[in-house]
Amino acid sequence: MVSSVTNLGRSGVFDWMVQRVTAYVLALYTVFLIGFTLTTDVDYQTWSGLFSQTWFRIFTLLALVSIGAHAWVGLWTVSTDYIKAAAPRFLFQAVCGLGMFVYLVWGIQILWGL
């Protein structure tokens, strides 16, 4: 068995499961936020009130981590399908990975930053 070194979990089954678990988290988060904006009169008070609660900060961070893992599996699949030469493919994956890391740190700073 040849295994790729760039996929998330060294195993397709693990990647498959990560993709599903994160998909459920992201679907729940998306539906919750759409529901919140449709049922609440969104102004600064209600908006910052939502993000000041610890459970919602945890939920948001969970969603951000899920975006990173979900996007890694997805973009890895797309890049291995369409970019056949190793160097540009690795460069593309590196840029994606850097982007995910930046999103995560940026998100943590927004949620808990001073």
Partner: protein
């Protein structure tokens, strides 16, 4: 001339089946969302920075370009969500046959087009 010679296939007569189109759109929308996260985090940061930042992002969202970007990201997100739910249903064994798969692809297009139009109405 030997009439049994193989005939070149007329490639212009080939069409992607609908499930293939919904699949490639799932990939494209995923890439759009990944780039869109930068816009969403920028908006979130500004909206949570204080009353001034919140009204700044509200004013920004009055411009046509910002509305277009918002609608674009929302469209990609809604399509990706609907097509993703179809995937999760397929995990449960629903819509795996040729006939039901085609029906599920049609449903994906119809439901996401309705949601994207509603999102456009909501944004404007």
């Amino acid at each position: 001339m030997n009439t049994k010679r193989p005939v070149n296939l007329d490639l212009s007569k080939f069409h992607f089946p609908l499930p293939a189109i919904t699949s490639i759109l799932h990939r494209i929308s995923g890439i759009i969302i990944f780039i869109g996260v930068a816009f969403m985090l920028y908006g979130l940061e500004l909206s949570l920075s204080g009353e001034a930042g919140f009204s700044q992002i509200s004013d920004l969202l009055d411009s046509f370009l910002a509305k277009l970007i918002t609608w674009g990201i929302l469209s990609a997100l809604l399509y990706h969500l609907v097509a993703g739910i179809k995937h999760l249903l397929m995990d449960m064994g629903i819509g795996e046959e040729l006939e039901s798969g085609l029906l599920a692809a049609k449903a994906t297009v119809v439901v996401s087009v309705i949601l994207i139009i509603l999102a456009g109405v909501w944004v404007w």
